[in-house]
Symmetry: C2
Subunit: 85 residues, 2 copies
């Protein structure tokens, strides 16, 4: 539940309006040097999966990718359209 609490705390800081949101985080920790980095392909495929469930505009998707020597973290933040939009 720690992560849920963390994400909830982050949201409190940034989101005051109760919009429907989807947040996807992919963290890839490479234990050995030279392991392939799946992120670019994963990013594309994950977006395809999401689009199967919800109609989202390209500009409603915010993507960030943090990389260091042994870890990549891909974060997708999607604001979903309300039913009456």
């Amino acid at each position: 539940m720690k992560l849920l609490d963390f994400l909830r705390g982050e949201r409190k800081k940034t989101a005051s309006v109760a919009k429907e949101r989807l947040q996807i985080i992919v963290a890839h920790q490479r234990g050995q040097r030279g392991q392939p980095d799946y992120m670019p392909m994963l990013e594309r495929e994950l977006l395809e999966v999401i689009r199967r469930y919800v109609e989202v505009d390209q500009d409603a998707i915010n993507i960030t990718l943090d990389r260091d020597a042994d870890c990549s973290v891909l974060e997708l933040n999607v604001t979903l359209p309300n039913k009456d939009d």
Copy 2:
């Protein structure tokens, strides 16, 4: 970068061996009551996407789903096989 720091801190507590890992977190915040919960379907599809890139045993996958009234958090933790396994 806050999230990357958070995930890195979590790992320090739980993982002492440098195994290759993939962690996928999907947080769905439903702004209105009665919005559909995509999690069970997403869970299945995300696993299919991962399996396209890496061969993973069923017991190398740990899945948790936290739910409350307006938020669902799906967490997939995958320990990837080392090259020499």
